[in-house]
Symmetry: C2
Subunit: 323 residues, 2 copies
Amino acid sequence: MPATSFPADATLADAGEFPLIAAFQEIFEEGEHVLVGSGDDAAVLRVKTGHVVVSTDLMVEGRHFRRDWAGAADVGARAAAQNLSDINAMGGRATSLTLGLAAPPDLRVEWVLDFARGFADECAKVGASVVGGDVTASDTLVIAGTVLGACTIAPVVRSGAEPGDVVALCGRQGWAAGGLAVLGRGFRSPRVLVEAYRRPQPPYDAGEVAAESGATAMIDVSDGLLADAAHVAEASGVAIDIRTAAFEIAEPLHAVGAALGADPIQFILGGGDDHPLLACFASSDEVPEGWQVIGSVNEPDHDGAAVTVDGAPYEGETGWTHF
Amino acid sequence: MPATSFPADATLADAGEFPLIAAFQEIFEEGEHVLVGSGDDAAVLRVKTGHVVVSTDLMVEGRHFRRDWAGAADVGARAAAQNLSDINAMGGRATSLTLGLAAPPDLRVEWVLDFARGFADECAKVGASVVGGDVTASDTLVIAGTVLGACTIAPVVRSGAEPGDVVALCGRQGWAAGGLAVLGRGFRSPRVLVEAYRRPQPPYDAGEVAAESGATAMIDVSDGLLADAAHVAEASGVAIDIRTAAFEIAEPLHAVGAALGADPIQFILGGGDDHPLLACFASSDEVPEGWQVIGSVNEPDHDGAAVTVDGAPYEGETGWTHF
């Protein structure tokens, strides 16, 4: 049954599992590395590199997204971006994804297919294929994405930062948090921030380049800049200092800060929805083009926080916690 | 923080995300093929075979399991079994899993850790490692498992059955459906059936053996015997006839059938929670030891059903649908 043959107001319960899967199969194109694709007990993928990089992420309606804050295609793109960014953060390139969708039976098929199109569009940015998944009924809408990929050189883990390294960032940071703050107050502008929240633009080419440039540690900013810097600091057994003067605060963030009575640097330090990469390099000479040095790696200070801002503990929100 | 240090009545909200992940890391042992394990943006796994087999499954509380019908470790084992069985059905062997858990913040940590132990125990049966995942809050408890594996010879897909093949089954079938029927009426016995539902025993060695014996098509029975036979028939463009006389109906199934006023063959034909393998072979000479011939593959009959029982369309429930 072609996807277009569902009535406009059909729900998942109306459509049924197998027509829905058939519609997904029309939307998700499979690359040449897919030896057995969607529709069997499992997919079979060609692996040329001797290893596979794998990561799983969940998104839950009401916690990670709201259907009244972003369109279905945006939610799909954001779900895929979250997955793809994890491979980017290892210095790799995503090749394949599986998509699990637990959804209320009264959800409209149209929403789900638009979601799938957004997911597919984002995957296409890096040439990755959706190779399978699962759909089932659930009172809560939960999206479970798993991404597979490969690294051309050794993966960059979180634990390799050394005192003396510089800390650098690649990609927009704080824009999505600004957009989220705006939506949370019931507004829809500045539109550029709301769009940044709805459709993050992770720097998908930057992870491989950083790995090739000798990045000692890397992470994607998904929990919050300071929270994710702390993950690197803890895994590496070092301290990290972030310098706020390194950030040029974009005009829309100033505007939102003024409107909400907040210091706009908070969006940058605590935001986690833009998925830029944070990496450490042995010296600023090694930092690739397009990256901005934002801090330094220091000896651990056992009396203080793993991450400081301008040399002092930070009192604001450092990021997101899941419980 | 060691897993044992959570207070006995601690909830996920009390524990917090990162101590919970640390406890998972204690429970999940990683094999030597795990180059980078849980705790980074992604795991990195050694792949020696030039390919990877991957499958994702969801389990939703109230639809796929009930916490009052099975203990946490049983739910974990069943979630893992469902994943592992999909690799078995390709003729492969699972190596690695990721586990996504979307759970209510007031769920007890003890339940989650027992769940994780059951999941780990089932994975250990085939030597597979849990290499990462995600935990997040959700009103509905949803388990998202993704399994990776490999085949030693060509994977066995659903689409290779040919008219003239025999259909064979390996593993217990109908017991879990009998147990589920019992639990659904508020009973707890026959205990052997209830236990079969709580802890399926998929024949994890049978998939590889069937592949080596020349199986032309294979599937694991997870939707229901007739429903899954229909998946093979449709993918292969053939008809399948199942012979009820081939099944020896176990005494506890007779007992439950008598108690519930049902023909016990219904549990066998419609049940989907035991995860046996159904495969087709060119002749009964090729059927490996431990498999039972239960039917035949025929030319497609365009006027009739893809699957018949004793030569006639079946009027009862053929299996499970997700919406």
